[in-house]
């Protein structure tokens, strides 16, 4: 089945391929100036993205140390509006629970689920892809077929199918999202391994009697790691969106554990009267995904010399 072969890995995984927006053709005098201006703008964006992610990460990790209200008990009246005050600056949700504390504990879920499942996908996909690319032949065909089978499902539908089978829980969620993120890494690692395996340093290692395992881990892996890792940022963004969508549909982490998608979903009923219930978590969510995309774009442009292998 070659139908899916020709498709860019990003699209296959349901990712919006964020094309580097830089100017395409030959650079002219004015093109150089604007490229520099674009470069500065993108650097500012990247710094803002790092700051935002750092803030979210620190809050999520340190949530237990912060003087936060409990996320599962009311702390005030329902639907208090956000305001510039020390007490509950983000207001309260439909039954009076602290939005701030729910957002922070929600960050914990979104980030840990996103990062963990992408790391799992990276490990599984990277290993399979390297093996497929390095050994080729039947092994490559089998892995390729399995990969195409996963890609044959629209991502969200696959996710929903897995959720339909298993009980809703954190491990299930992480596992299914890892499955979702694996194929991209398989393709990336396979393309990388293919391009490196005939290079001199690999041949040198082989002629010195290095075993396959040693070549894979000591020669190929260090070369592939950067492009895989830089690509991970983009995948994390996709996975966080998938997790959010699932929680929004009520099929993610079961309540009362807060998640951003779940917060948006519960706020939806009050859209007409209290839109802040939707907009507060939505903005946080959006900024986080945007930050991952910005950083991912930058990282990929910097490290991934083999971007062409993707399409």
């Amino acid at each position: 089945m070659t139908a899916i072969e020709g498709l860019p890995v990003t699209v296959a995984a349901g990712i919006d391929p964020t094309m580097p927006p830089g100017p395409g053709g030959r650079s002219t005098a004015s093109g150089v100036a604007t490229t520099r201006r674009r470069g500065r703008a993108s650097r500012v964006m990247a710094i803002l993205a790092i700051m935002w992610l750092g803030l979210v990460l620190v809050l999520a990790i340190g949530a237990d140390l912060l003087p936060l209200a409990p996320y599962d008990a009311p702390v005030g009246g329902p639907r208090e509006t956000p305001g510039l005050r020390l007490h509950e600056p983000l207001g309260t949700d439909a039954i009076g629970r602290s939005q701030l504390s729910r957002a922070i504990y929600g960050a914990r879920v979104s980030l840990s689920v996103g990062i963990l499942s992408v790391l799992l996908g990276l490990a599984a996909g990277g290993t399979l892809g390297m093996i497929a690319g390095y050994f080729g032949g039947k092994l490559d065909a089998v892995i390729g077929t399995l990969n195409d089978s996963v890609l044959a499902f629209p991502p969200l539908v696959l996710l929903l199918a897995i959720t339909a089978i298993f009980r809703q829980s954190l491990p299930t969620l992480i596992g299914s999202l890892a499955v979702l993120s694996t194929p991209s890494f398989v393709r990336l690692a396979r393309a990388g391994a293919l391009s490196y395996k005939e290079r001199e340093f690999v041949i040198a290692a082989r002629s010195m009697g290095a075993s396959h395992a040693r070549i894979l881990t000591r020669e190929l892996l260090p070369n592939l790691m950067f492009s895989l890792l830089s690509y991970s940022f983009l995948i994390v963004a996709v996975i966080i969106v998938a997790e959010g969508s699932l929680s929004f549909l009520g099929l993610g982490i079961p309540p009362p554990t807060p998640s951003w998608g779940g917060m948006v979903a519960t706020g939806r009923d009050y859209l007409a009267t209290d839109p802040q219930l939707v907009f507060t978590p939505a903005v946080i969510f959006l900024l986080t995904v945007l930050s991952f995309n910005v950083l991912g774009d930058r990282a990929r442009r910097r490290f991934d010399t083999r971007a062409s292998a993707l399409s």
């Binding site: 498709l7 964020t18 094309m19």
Partner: protein, 305 residues
């Protein structure tokens, strides 16, 4: 072919993978040993795996996915009932996306690094990062609740009132389209910029043809192949997005059926939808693969007529 086999096999196996006996899930509280046996027989669970697969595929090939234990309705008929809604959404979104993306791409490529181009590059990053459920609610709030231009929920069948139908479908379709617009316009912009460097564009300009004419007649066509491929491929993404959007705007589409079935543990319906969508997706991708070679004249070896 192997992919088709694995996809169908995995979907069929779905029923077995769940925790506990599928019969107990299907029957819920009203459970007796006799009923379990009955259900096992109905589902064919008492037969060997290969035989089960064979008969399941044979039935599925004729679109017979069994009967839902919840509604007692054949699964295919409930899918077919809801299919038009999802298809209309996907097509409308696709249309909207292309209608917006092409002019924008032409302009941003023509005035690359101009004010609008830089604005658009930020705006499209934002659009790419916003998931359907956030975007849908934002649009519903501003265009539906505040401005009251469009209804926020509900669906009017096209036959009943075409105008109301389109009004109701607009917000969900727009929600689906925004992400596509961003991706399409970026892709097309990059391709047009590359095409504008070609000598024949310079030749056309030097002949005194207007910029607009050169852009549309000379640059757009050769630049649009990768866009068309992407547009075809994104149908799968639109189907996935439709699940969220249908649930968000309470539209009676296939996606909503999927969510309802998952929530009511209606395994057979879930199975039917999943295999239907996956097969449709595979067929679309295969068609595009063939279509691409047919569309791109370079693949055929004859340059654009």
């Amino acid at each position: 072919m192997a992919v088709l086999f694995i996809v169908t096999f995995a979907t069929m196996f779905m029923v077995d993978l769940g925790p506990g006996d599928p019969a107990s899930v299907l029957l819920g509280d009203a459970i007796t040993p006799q009923l379990i046996k009955q259900v096992h027989h109905d589902l064919g669970l008492d037969k060997p795996l290969i035989e089960r697969y064979g008969s399941w595929v044979a039935h599925a090939a004729t679109l017979d996915f069994g009967k839902s234990y919840r509604t007692k309705q054949p699964v295919w008929s409930s899918i077919r009932q809801r299919l038009p809604v999802t298809l209309e959404l996907a097509l409308l979104a696709q249309l909207l996306a292309l209608l917006v993306a092409i002019p924008v791409a032409l302009w941003t490529a023509y005035r690359a690094d101009g004010r609008l181009d830089r604005l658009w590059s930020v705006g499209s990053s934002l659009a790419i990062s916003s998931p359907a459920f956030v975007l849908g609610l934002v649009l519903a709030y501003f265009l539906g609740v505040r401005a009251r231009w469009f209804p926020v929920t509900g669906w009017t069948p096209f036959g009943q009132s075409p105008l109301d139908n389109l009004r109701g479908a607009f917000l969900p379709a727009l929600t689906l389209a925004v992400g596509e617009i961003a991706v399409y316009s970026r892709l097309l912009r990059a391709d047009i910029i590359a095409t504008l460097q070609e000598d024949y564009v310079l030749a056309a300009r030097s002949r005194g043809l207007s910029d607009l004419y050169v852009l549309v007649r000379h640059a757009l066509r050769p630049s649009s192949f990768s866009l068309l491929t992407l547009a075809g491929l994104s149908l799968g993404r639109l189907i996935g997005g439709a699940v969220v959007v249908e649930s968000l705007f309470a539209l009676p589409g296939v996606g909503q059926l999927l969510i309802i079935s998952i929530n009511t543990k209606d395994v057979l319906t879930v199975q039917g939808i999943v295999v239907f969508v996956a097969l449709a997706y595979v067929v679309i991708n295969a068609t595009i693969d063939v279509g691409y070679a047919w569309l791109d004249p370079r693949v055929r070896g004859v340059y654009a007529r």
